[in-house]
């Protein structure tokens, strides 16, 4: 299988300067790989550093040590050292991220948020609209909500907008932070089907899935994060 993602000796801690410089170690020696068409789950209790690992891979958090290699077409990029402009390009073409909580641009409609994400990934205007509508429909977001900004939506509705946005650009790597949290059984099944479909199409997926049934259904294997405890 083609490798897409390789972490080698990654470490992260937070220094809290406003708390007298207290050190908060998160993880150390994080090393694993994810291949195309593979779905890998990060396992371990809350606070073990699962979300921090995803954020380092997306470049949202900095890594203190180690290497985070992502494949972008024919090129390998080390996120831990990449220039900001390279990271922005990497996010468009190589890696998508569904965060745990939706953080959206205020006043922009749900549909436009998803369209914009598809456009970022290089889709033309018509294709982007088509893809966004298709995703929102498949995720069962009532059509009357499409033209509204998600700020006032329920947790489950926001989460579905978030998932649609993360899937819209169709990058070959996906990071998923609890994509099925706060969803009812029917919506959960739809998200699971979408993930399975992407994996089958060759997307490398790294995710956090607290729901054991979901994890067993979609993950090929689990990387236990407690072994990286700092």
């Amino acid at each position: 299988m083609d490798q897409m993602m390789r972490l080698d000796g990654v470490a992260k801690s937070f220094t809290m300067h406003l708390r007298g410089g207290a050190e908060l170690p998160v993880v150390r020696d994080v090393s694993f790989e994810v291949a195309a068409g593979e779905c890998v789950a990060l396992g371990g209790p809350s606070g073990a550093g699962k979300s921090s690992i995803l954020k380092m891979i997306y470049g949202n958090y900095r890594a203190d040590r180690g290497e985070i290699w992502l494949r972008d077409g024919g090129e390998w990029i080390d996120v831990a050292r990449a220039a900001p402009r390279r990271m922005l390009r990497l996010r468009k073409s190589a890696i998508g991220y569904v965060s745990q909580f939706l953080r959206a641009i205020p006043r922009v409609s749900s549909l436009d948020l998803v369209v914009a994400a598809a456009r970022e990934g290089g889709a033309g205007e018509d294709e982007a609209k088509h893809r966004a509508a298709d995703l929102l429909a498949r995720l069962n977001l009532p059509e009357r909500l499409w033209s509204l900004p998600p700020a006032t939506f329920s947790g489950g509705e926001q989460q579905r907008v978030n998932v649609a946005r993360g899937f819209a650009a169709g990058q070959p790597m996906l990071l998923l932070d609890e994509p099925t949290a706060s969803l009812d059984a029917a919506s959960r099944a739809r998200v699971v089907a979408l993930i399975a479909e992407r994996r089958k199409a060759g997307t490398a997926i790294l995710g956090i899935f607290h729901d054991e049934a979901v994890r067993n259904e979609i993950a090929d294997r689990t990387v236990d994060v407690t072994r990286f405890a700092a």
Binding site: F14, T15, M16, H17, L18, N60, Y61, P84, R85, R107
Partner: protein, 260 residues
């Protein structure tokens, strides 16, 4: 290298001293086409001094600023003649001041303010100038019926939108903004931010935005520079610097924002 892979503007070692006092010291930056850079910090951090130097309104004590002109050549901005610099300002650049009165002629009609800039780049036909002015006023949501009113009769938010129209009408490649939403009511601010966001996306503008408001930086910028006491103390991807601030001062700034 393609056009977008070459910086539009580059600053190196940019320093301005006011006698023994530091305005801003040793700043290096690059801005690329289509990129929005936010410069954040509190008052007195040197961010406005930096913006004044980048836009050639203030001469540096030392350091250089180079700009890639439309013909592709890199020009040292402080070796340009006054006439060349004025030409850049009228054609390639925009400058949005916090106080719209500094960017507008208050005694001239809204249409005149926008038209003036077109005339400066050689437009002569009155009907075309007026049509273009109406078009741009429309894009910033100022009705055609207000074209003959003076900005003195406009609200703060409307003046700011007029200032933006005046800047955009010559299709600049780079826009400098100094606290563009400062001093406005939040609802007016929101509308203005939506307008700026749309213009940046639609026209592929490069912009350098000075702001003390981290929410504005998060919404508009790709990259961020944090300044304190005249120095750049932290720089990087906007979401990275705001979500994982490293420097004590940046942590203080981020922790001081109310969570919305």
């Amino acid at each position: 290298m393609s056009e977008t892979e070459m910086p539009l503007l580059t600053a190196e070692g940019l320093t301005r001293l006011y006698g023994p006092r530091i305005g801003c010291i040793d700043v290096a930056l690059e801005i690329f086409p289509g990129e929005v850079l936010a410069v954040v910090g509190e008052s007195g951090s040197g961010k406005s001094t930096l913006l004044s130097m980048l836009s050639t309104q203030l001469a540096p004590t030392r350091g250089t600023v180079t700009y890639r002109s439309r013909d592709g050549g890199m020009r040292d901005l402080f070796s340009l003649s006054e006439a060349e610099r004025r030409f850049l300002f009228r054609t390639d650049w925009g400058f949005v001041h916090q106080d719209a009165r500094m960017g507008l002629r208050m005694g001239v009609s809204a249409g005149g303010n926008v038209g003036e800039r077109l005339m400066a780049v050689g437009w002569r036909h009155f009907g075309n100038i007026r049509a273009e002015a109406v078009d741009w006023l429309g894009r910033v949501e100022i009705g055609a019926d207000r074209i003959d009113d003076r900005p003195a009769a406009f609200s703060g938010g409307m003046r700011q939108r007029l200032q933006i129209a005046k800047n955009m009408v010559t299709r600049p490649r780079l826009v400098f903004m100094d606290e563009p939403t400062g001093g406005l009511d939040v609802s007016v601010q929101a509308r203005l931010l939506d307008l700026i966001r749309g213009l940046v996306a639609d026209y592929g503008l490069a912009a350098i935005i000075v702001t003390h408001d981290l929410a504005v930086a998060r919404l508009l910028s790709h990259r961020i520079m944090v300044m304190r006491e005249g120095r750049v103390i932290e720089t990087g991807l906007t979401d990275q610097v705001l979500d994982d601030p490293r420097e004590p001062y940046t942590q203080l700034l981020v922790s001081s924002v109310l969570q919305g």
